[in-house]
Point group: C2
């Protein structure tokens, strides 16, 4: 196990009607002038926004609003938010929505207190300072409610890039599973897929003897295999929603990823697809993951055989472990299909003739990249092209 530090000081209020605590929690963590940041229709239509405002008013906390966050959140709205926060002396940002809204809120929070261009953080500058952030989560997926991460898309060139730093951990996150019950099946399944990806990409490590974190990851994936079909069958299943929501946080706050190298190849290759075709991140991951795993499996066949056996219920073929490993990847594909996820490039609206360009951007970015994708294995542009071709 590698040396590590772990610091996850987010306060979680979990369960029914917990959104009504938001005023008290903003106050507890020092907010006096709040920017409520959200996407659009559903937060308003469901009455959630009104409940949030009522809770803030009850604590005499003043607020302004900025809506319009879209999936794969853009830098344009971030700049708008930064200007607004500075002009209005906002001292706390409350994100009401899913990962996109929270990621956008994080970027605004860092940009507001930074002299330069907030995009610097998305080109590698560590985030050391930001306005305090609170979240009210409406989609179990990204794990941004408990993570130090944020992903933003730069409109010019459609570059999708991540930033990270301790200051990005929310002060509090409110997780009410009932708020996710109105989510369409497709988006629910995209969320489950994203959670599974966060787990697989921690699982695929070159660090040896990490049994505890291996077992935690396996347990979380197994629980998603159990809960996924239940919630697709019955979207109102509160208990299944609750399990998925907590798993989404635990999967990505890194308690099960400490002390081990991680992968993130699937996320990197997917980011090119959702930036280019604006497909849902989870749907992109469903297409990308099996291809990446099949291509990189030879790096450590036993690791794939282990997860196939322990999580997917495959009988271990002790004489041909690669068969077990492949069977595990195939069961992952079947599971993703069973919850309604796409499996091919075409289903995403992606085009074969773009493969070279996609692979080039994945490897070189906007010119600043190294020419390689680092992770469980190191991939050259030709490797990435081969992987994208496996998705056809």
């Amino acid at each position: 196990m590698n040396n590590f530090t772990f610091y996850a000081p987010t306060y979680f209020a979990f369960g029914k009607e917990t959104e009504n605590e938001c005023g008290k929690l903003v106050k507890r963590f020092g907010g006096t002038k709040v920017l409520i940041h959200y996407g659009g229709g559903s937060v308003v239509r469901s009455g959630l926004l009104e409940r949030v405002k009522t809770s803030l008013k009850e604590e005499s906390i003043s607020f302004i609003e900025l809506s319009g966050v879209m999936p794969n959140p853009r830098d344009g709205l971030v700049y708008e938010g930064i200007d607004l926060c500075r002009k209005e002396n906002v001292d706390f940002i409350l994100a009401v929505g899913g990962g996109s809204t929270i990621d956008s809120a994080k970027a605004i929070a860092a940009g507001t207190v930074y002299d330069g261009d907030f995009w610097d953080f998305y080109e590698g500058k560590p985030v050391t300072e930001a306005l305090p952030i609170g979240t009210i989560l409406t989609i179990a997926a990204a794990g941004s409610e408990g993570s130090p991460d944020s992903v933003i898309t730069k409109e010019k060139g459609m570059l999708k890039r991540g930033a990270s730093g301790e200051a990005y951990r929310p002060k509090f996150s409110i997780l009410n599973p009932a708020l996710t019950q109105t989510l369409p099946a497709y988006q629910t399944a995209c969320g489950i897929t994203d959670i599974i990806a966060h787990l697989y990409e921690r699982y695929l490590t070159n660090t040896t003897e990490v049994e505890v974190t291996d077992r935690l990851i396996e347990g979380l994936i197994a629980s998603m295999i159990h809960e996924g079909p239940r919630v697709i069958e019955n979207p109102d299943n509160y208990e299944a929603r609750a399990n998925i929501m907590w798993a989404g946080m635990v999967a990505h706050n890194n308690i099960c990823g400490v002390g081990r190298s991680q992968d993130w190849t699937s996320h990197n290759l997917e980011h090119e697809l959702s930036a280019e075709y604006d497909c849902a991140h989870g749907a992109g991951l469903a297409v990308v993951m099996p291809a990446v795993f099949t291509y990189t499996m030879k790096q450590d066949v036993m690791r794939f055989a282990q997860i196939a056996s322990r999580v997917w219920g495959c009988q271990m073929d002790f004489y041909h472990p690669e068969k077990t490993a492949l069977e595990g990847i195939e069961r992952l594909r079947c599971f993703l299909a069973s919850i309604g996820m796409p499996l091919t490039f075409e289903e995403l609206g992606a085009k074969e003739q773009d493969i070279e360009k996609l692979a080039h951007t994945a490897c070189y970015g906007d010119g600043s990249g190294s020419g390689k994708v680092y992770g469980f294995t190191t991939l050259e542009q030709t490797d990435v092209e081969n992987i994208y071709r496996l998705m056809l």
Copy 2:
């Protein structure tokens, strides 16, 4: 799943030589005058205390010392520590040791800033304020390095009682697995047993549909089954020590116990044994757990069958699940024996003729108890006596 809050804002520095960070961490969390609290010989002999002092001096942090913590830490030393902290204007307590030392430090931290008798907290008053605490862990067991809990024994009447509160979460904890390599096999096994008990007592719930936390707990127990024999065979196995150390924290910071009722019957019944006979807490638990589980199994046979099947590798007997459940408990016993733990009352130095008195104290405490032990099931004094008899 029940509504819950989860807030675990402890900073963890994990790995080789991390104790040398303690000066910087005390400074980061605002300490200027430190009480170093520890047990005795080994912390001094190993040179750890000197390294801690050097690290504090490098940051120009002044300190005083209070040693003498014993297993099953006593109130006498706590009172001494409180007087010392007040007299010397201590503003930060650094515990260097295992769970006993950390628990003693927590009691001192709360007592120093409290007008009344610190024992009030151990009779049920919530801990809302305490001096900040840091820990350097030398035994993987109690999980006190990441928990809001503390257990102290009142010398008068030998009452062993717990207290809890947010203010008891350490500001930072330093976990260097190498510091545990000199621990004798018996104490190491006691620690592993305590970790397993923390997991079982969260597993035994009357809350339904808690798949995610079930799976996390199962994974952690499975990893202890894997790592335990490795570290008993080779005490210098750093990797096994590292896995056990991280599991000890995760098992008890409650990330896998949220939103579900918990048990704690085994801990309650064990506390009477270690208070009366001063046996090691883990050794007591090894004797208590199989008896408690056998007696309370009928409350939810399927829960015991599930852990037997998923964790202990028992083949499920679908027509007689109680056989599978019992087989799981038997495998737990065998595992505990295999790492050198006692299995009977006699091996602990406990006496059959004390059973009525032990059961009475467990149920009624020093007179303030309700006459019952609440947990996975509700036990009367006669039940508790029956359970103790199963240990003969």
